[in-house]
């Protein structure tokens, strides 16, 4: 235990240094890169939120385009049509996302669908969500919705891009904190048990449906809030960007590279992949970055099937065993 906590302290110190660097970074970055990093933080936040249901509970869950879309569209529609502040609108979006998640989740979990069927139903629902966004005039159809720039705290729009940067950073830190808390508490342990053996978990008295729903609701809630942030950052949403299956696949890939179900996995995966992808996108070719993502994920899975964070942890444990202090 003592050695474990020493490893923990090292990790926390490393994170603290990283955080300080990130806090000071905007003064040195161009506007493009500040914006990119705001997006990187959003993806850390999203990937961590996905990781609660996908990584910790071990589900192949593709529902998140719906959650992100619910957040982005609710706040934007309320703001454009009724002048409701996105700070208020985002909670309606989150509520819608939670309700949708609970309804779909309840239907699927109750009938005990196998993983694949569940994944397909999720993909089907996400597809339906995209189609609804395309067809519903209130949501702007395929033309999407444009948010008129009107900087002001009440409108969740900021003069400088670095404000978005810090807001994104704050959200990411908060989300990682929540994941850390969940992983050290009852919910986290239950999810782990459910992931490894659902039948056995039910047999020892864990209400598996209830805890999976709880995890899904938490995940949906925070993803939707991130959707509002996304809309305010880009000031434009359309079905292909806001209800995008590519987004959830990216989130899953980031978790995979970092390590499923680990608290730091989504952080590490996103911090490594997205900047590389962005460099490629800006300086080599748009579209090529997805190829890099794909290649990297395949390489990581073949070399270290559990992702980078577990690999790093086992390495650290090994070096400690070799040199006992």
């Amino acid at each position: 235990m003592g050695e474990n906590s020493r490893t923990d302290i090292k990790i926390y110190l490393g994170l603290l240094v990283l955080l300080i660097v990130l806090l000071l970074l905007p003064t040195r970055l161009s506007i493009t890169w500040t914006r990119t990093f705001a997006m990187v933080f959003l993806f850390i936040y999203w990937a961590s939120a996905w990781n609660i249901i996908g990584g910790m509970a071990g589900e192949i869950n593709f529902l998140h385009p719906i959650f992100i879309g619910a957040g982005a569209y609710s706040s934007t529609v309320l703001y454009i049509n009724f002048g409701v502040s996105p700070w208020v609108g985002m909670f309606l979006g989150a509520a819608i996302a939670v309700v949708l998640g609970l309804v779909i989740g309840w239907i699927c979990y109750r009938s005990g669908l196998p993983h694949l069927s569940f994944a397909l139903i999720c993909l089907g629902f996400s597809h339906i969500g995209e189609i609804i966004a395309l067809e519903w005039d209130l949501l702007g159809g395929s033309r999407g919705l444009v948010i008129r720039p009107a900087p002001g705290l009440a409108n969740m729009q900021f003069e400088t891009i670095s404000t978005y940067y810090y807001m994104g950073l704050g959200m990411a830190v908060l989300m990682v904190g929540i994941c850390h808390w969940i992983s050290r508490n009852k919910l986290g342990y239950y999810l782990k048990a459910i992931k490894h053996n659902e039948t056995a978990s039910a047999a020892i008295g864990i209400d598996t449906v209830r805890y999976r729903l709880l995890a899904l609701a938490v995940s949906a809630f925070f993803c939707a809030l991130g959707g509002t942030f996304y809309a305010q950052l880009v000031l434009y949403i359309d079905p292909h960007s806001a209800v995008s299956i590519t987004t959830v696949i990216s989130m899953i890939l980031f978790c995979a590279i970092g390590g499923f179900g680990t608290v730091l996995g989504p952080v590490v995966g996103t911090l490594i992949l997205m900047p590389i992808g962005e460099v490629v996108r800006l300086y080599v070719m748009t579209g090529f970055h997805l190829i890099i993502y794909g290649v990297l994920v395949i390489v990581v899975i073949l070399l270290s099937p559990h992702g980078l964070v577990p690999w790093f942890q086992s390495r650290m444990k090994k070096t400690q065993e070799e040199s006992p202090a």
Partner: protein
């Protein structure tokens, strides 16, 4: 609504259904003997279709003729992908395998996008303008060819699975891999062949449908989704069920676009799938 129009759509749906069944059968075979779920399955069909497009634009080659190149090319591609990637993750967690194939989705879709741009494409074939009519019903030659060849291939494959030694070996592996290995079946070889065969089937399906389905670089995931839906609807691992489900999905697709149309019509197959899973989670022909 005129009954002829409905009958017409029904026929069209059945014909496309033959292809869905064929794509799904590939997934079912691969799953039955390796337990792999390949989310890049549909993307291989996209590769085949773009191969036909390239052959058409550069050499003015008819897609039906291109299938003679596409099928062996995809068979080899399947062998390579299996040997270098899938073979290594056979024992990994399901989520990891899904990841690996999602990574492949990104690679294939983006490569297609960079090579062929995002424009919608289709390639006409020699039978496209020919129409066959039976009373008030008429059907395009390319649909009919799709039905005959696709449905024929599906039926032939089903026969192979049921009646030949290869088929018996495949079914033995799908029932109990270890026992099959102990009986002297070369499991590794069969797994590789079946995977490559499934990919080669996509070469055939792709060449047949270049004039029917609109090509775009991101079409793969949707095709995969359809294939998986067929696979689950038929009752996981049930070969006959897969073929039946393919036709059902084709009909649902055609009816959706006839009665509702547009994007909403495209939801009908998914709706059917969700309903089916809720009321009959084991699939159409699946055992409880």
């Amino acid at each position: 609504m005129d009954i002829t129009i409905i009958a017409q759509a029904l026929i069209q749906g059945l014909m496309l259904g033959a292809i869905y069944g064929l794509i799904g059968l590939g997934i079912t075979m691969v799953y039955a003997i390796t337990g792999l779920l390949n989310f890049a399955h549909g993307d291989f069909m996209a590769i085949a279709m773009y191969l036909c497009l390239a052959l058409f634009t550069h050499f003015n080659m008819d897609p039906y003729l291109s299938s003679l190149i596409a099928v062996p090319a995809l068979f080899v591609l399947g062998l390579l992908v299996y040997h270098f990637l899938f073979r290594r993750v056979l024992k990994a967690e399901l989520l990891m395998v899904v990841q690996l194939t999602l990574g492949m989705v990104f690679i294939i879709e983006s490569s297609l996008l960079l090579t062929f741009t995002a424009d919608y494409e289709s390639v006409p074939n020699i039978l496209h303008a020919v129409r066959f009519s039976l009373g008030p019903l008429s059907v395009s030659g390319s649909y009919l060819a799709t039905f005959l060849v696709g449905g024929g291939a599906g039926a032939a494959l089903y026969w192979v699975l049921q009646k030949t030694d290869l088929g018996r070996q495949i079914r033995a592996i799908s029932q109990n891999k270890d026992a099959a290995t102990l009986m002297g079946i070369n499991t590794t070889r069969i797994q590789m062949i079946v995977f490559a065969l499934a990919i080669a089937l996509l070469g055939l399906s792709g060449s047949l449908t270049t004039s029917i389905l609109t090509m775009e670089p991101y079409m793969g995931l949707e095709l995969t989704l359809f294939a998986f839906i067929v696979f689950v609807m038929g009752g996981v691992g049930n070969f006959l069920g897969t073929l039946v489900a393919g036709y059902l999905l084709g009909i649902a697709d055609a009816m959706g676009s006839l009665f509702i149309g547009g994007h909403l019509g495209a939801m009908v197959p998914y709706g059917l799938f969700v309903l089916l899973l809720l009321f009959r989670p084991q699939g159409i022909l699946g055992a409880k």
